[in-house]
Amino acid sequence: MHTEYVSVREGILSLLAEGPSYGFALKTHFETATGGTWPLNVGQVYTTLDRLERDGLVVMEETDDQKLYRLTDAGHDELEDWWEAVPNDGPPPRDELLIKLLLALPHGKEHALAVLSRQRSALAQILHARRQAAITTGANHSGELGQSPTTFAAALLDDAVLMRTEADLRWLDRCEARIVADLKDLTTTGGPEAGADPGHRADTNPPRPNRLGLMRRNRR
């Protein structure tokens, strides 16, 4: 099942657990609860409600030409199961940053270090830009000295982006340490890089930087 569908579906179940509601109100409440980061199409809400009704998780009643939705006992059970379930995207991760670095390695460790530096700078720029945006909108929530966040949900959301970007930066630091240690081992033992790193082709010509500062293999 698609992750987004699961989250909208369970999000609506969660909101209906607070009490019966209408389709448009559910859209508004969902957007507020998710810190304004997830705008919903009202058609998407009604499609999801239709599926929930089909599955016996909600019932709909018409009042004053409006459709009021209510959670069923089965819907409550489904929601309880969701609260208890642990999110699991399933290893291994295949995000672009990881794949990019893994694919950079066969081009030589110096090239990988240059790619790594470039990505690290870009991530640091993103962190900086987000903080500047937070200052501009007044959504500064950096501890006891900060101002009040625009909403509590928005503050938690900003924290998530900050911490996940930080995790990527820490991972890049770890990669750099491993690559540098490996290069030092090769220097001290004098062994061929290809022998120490299966799948790596040893450079016969030294790489040279391209206009982005990344190392590029000489064309043959």
């Binding site: 530096s117 700078s121 640091a124 903080r131 000295l145 930080e166």
Partner: protein, 242 residues
Amino acid sequence: MNSNAVVSFEAVTKVFGSGSTEIRALNNVTFNVFPGELVAVMGPSGCGKSTLLHVAGGLERPTSGQVVTAGRNLGDISAQELASLRRNDVGYVFQRLNLIPSLTAMENVMLPLELDGLGSRQARHQAAEALERVRLGDGLSRYPDDFSGGQQQRIAIARAITGTRKVLLADEPTGSLDTLAADAVINLLASLAKDRGTAILLVTHEPRFTAWADRVIYLRDGQVVDESIMSSSAIAEGTVLP
């Protein structure tokens, strides 16, 4: 050398030991820090971050190259001038706060000023002003143990910024704090840079703090391997690819 810089390194090398035990802690390092800038220095353990800070503050002399801090060339400075530089122009903040538990916040900030020969009244005035700047103006008579970890670090920062110091050197100042308290301390350092024009050199392991930095210098094996200039417009302009 850039004459506008408050801290300027030109081809600086620092070597400890000799022969087989020689360690090149800094290797041909060149960079500048300008007034009002917060520059983060990052890199793996042992890359030379703390040595760089010690050389910038005159706690270590460079083996070769030129270091100018607050307008003074540290290569040919007398011991007396160096002491004056440390007293008047450069402040230090470390992970270990070195606050004296039996002295109040005010007395902790006053103590180095009085040891430096300042009269009690003037020292009290400067200490109160510094504590006000770190937003602890209402806790002057409380003891360090009465404060949270983050607030204690702010007392240490107040002690480092008394008077008209041009440079603040911070070595892992948030190492013992939780993330919210740590962010608040870095927020304070950033505002000191912006509001008072203090040049801040921040050594840190926390990638998150690049969000506050104007520039980030990455060190590896004593060498600058990367220098990122932070600019929100760089991404918008497409000069930096996220």
